[in-house]
Symmetry: C2
């Protein structure tokens, strides 16, 4: 009997992590979604993530925490979100939306969940192409985790390990979207906007990168389709 | 002008982390204490940690989270805490109080705090001697973090790094206590018991290891002194 491979999937409700989830499913993993409520100024992505997990037929868990030291415009309402920046501006340096050590915190919870569920793998939708300056989105960062898992977990010490998989790490947004369309990712359920309105603002960095991706992929974004028709 | 070195200190309110805090202070660090509320069945250690931070004249932050997947008798009241085990039993294998990836989660939050405070170091009171079987208390585990910091944080990429310091890692409980007495650690404020009563139960693994440490150090535990006199 073939053993079912299990994966914990970090699911933010955005485009990338949802594509990573569908990639893991296509590769035959039984997926356990891990959703974080860390005080994002907009709450829509959490609801989006739950809906996506249900649509994909996967169990999910929500972990809540706050960073009392703030440090990011994404969780601190006193800091302004960047708006209407050029794509060149967006690609320069670490943006004010950077949350210190966020991926490290996310992965550490995923590791705990994976230990308890006896999962082989952790999937994360991070990628380097469109978001330069995030040190914790690069292949060498995920590689560094390998050793922490090997020596720091029961499973690792026993030689079975937990692999951290970043299937999108070298892809552009357009490539991710093309892959997702092939995998039948329900992009209409995803939420990328840093604001929490009823519709995406189309002005924040995240909306602009998403729009660029769909444009370059030559695909219509099902989330903003209505706008074009209006 | 000599630059003040800053450290984030993981402070549980127990004997080890309190000694680590006083060690960091003696070495000249300005300390920022990080206290976790992760649903411990007993809440006393959180209050103990706050009192210790105040006594030491340090700022502290409390981070709250829950692990919805449980996995440990320390946070799951349906699981029995071990009681009255022999010291040989305690030292064998991974105990039911092991919280999967706890130190990894703690260190990832510490890393975030250290990034925001521009701290050079993170102090953790873990040690291998008395608690065998915890993979995330060994020197090679802390060593593995080095690479994650180097490549995964802004500070690391800039070549300044954040050092993870485990000053007690090779020490026995008795050696830790002797060190702490020299450092004038207020052990009467610390709380080690897994139960949350008014007095330590003196029967759980943690109480038994503490008692053994004080016995071997030839020092009276100020927390249970009353019992001896009663």
């Amino acid at each position: 009997m073939k053993k079912i491979r299990k994966a914990v999937v970090l699911l933010s409700g955005g485009l990338d992590s949802t594509t990573a989830l569908y990639q893991a499913r296509e590769w035959g993993f039984q997926c356990f979604c891990l959703i974080f409520d860390y005080g994002q100024r907009q709450r829509r992505e959490i609801e989006a993530a739950k809906r996506i997990a249900r649509r994909a037929g996967c169990r999910y868990r929500v972990v809540s925490f706050r960073l009392p030291w703030g440090g990011s415009a994404l969780i601190d309402r006193r800091r302004a979100l960047p708006r209407k920046r050029s794509l060149e501006e967006i690609s320069r340096g670490i943006p004010p939306t950077y949350v210190p050590s966020r991926n490290t915190i996310f992965l550490s919870f995923a590791l705990s969940y994976a230990e308890v569920m006896a999962a082989d793998s952790i999937f994360i939708g991070a990628h380097v192409m469109d978001s330069s300056g995030y040190p914790d989105c690069r292949p060498e960062y995920f590689q560094a985790w390998k050793r922490v898992v090997e020596v720091g977990t029961k499973r690792g010490v026993e030689g079975r390990g937990i692999e951290i998989v970043a299937p999108l790490v070298g892809k552009s947004k357009a490539e991710i979207i093309k892959l997702g369309v092939r995998l039948k990712v329900p992009y209409e359920l995803t939420w990328s906007c840093y604001q929490g309105g009823r519709e995406p603002c189309l002005k924040c960095d995240s909306c602009l990168l998403r729009a660029k991706g769909f444009r370059e992929a030559g695909i219509e974004d099902p989330l903003v389709r209505g706008e074009d028709e209006g």
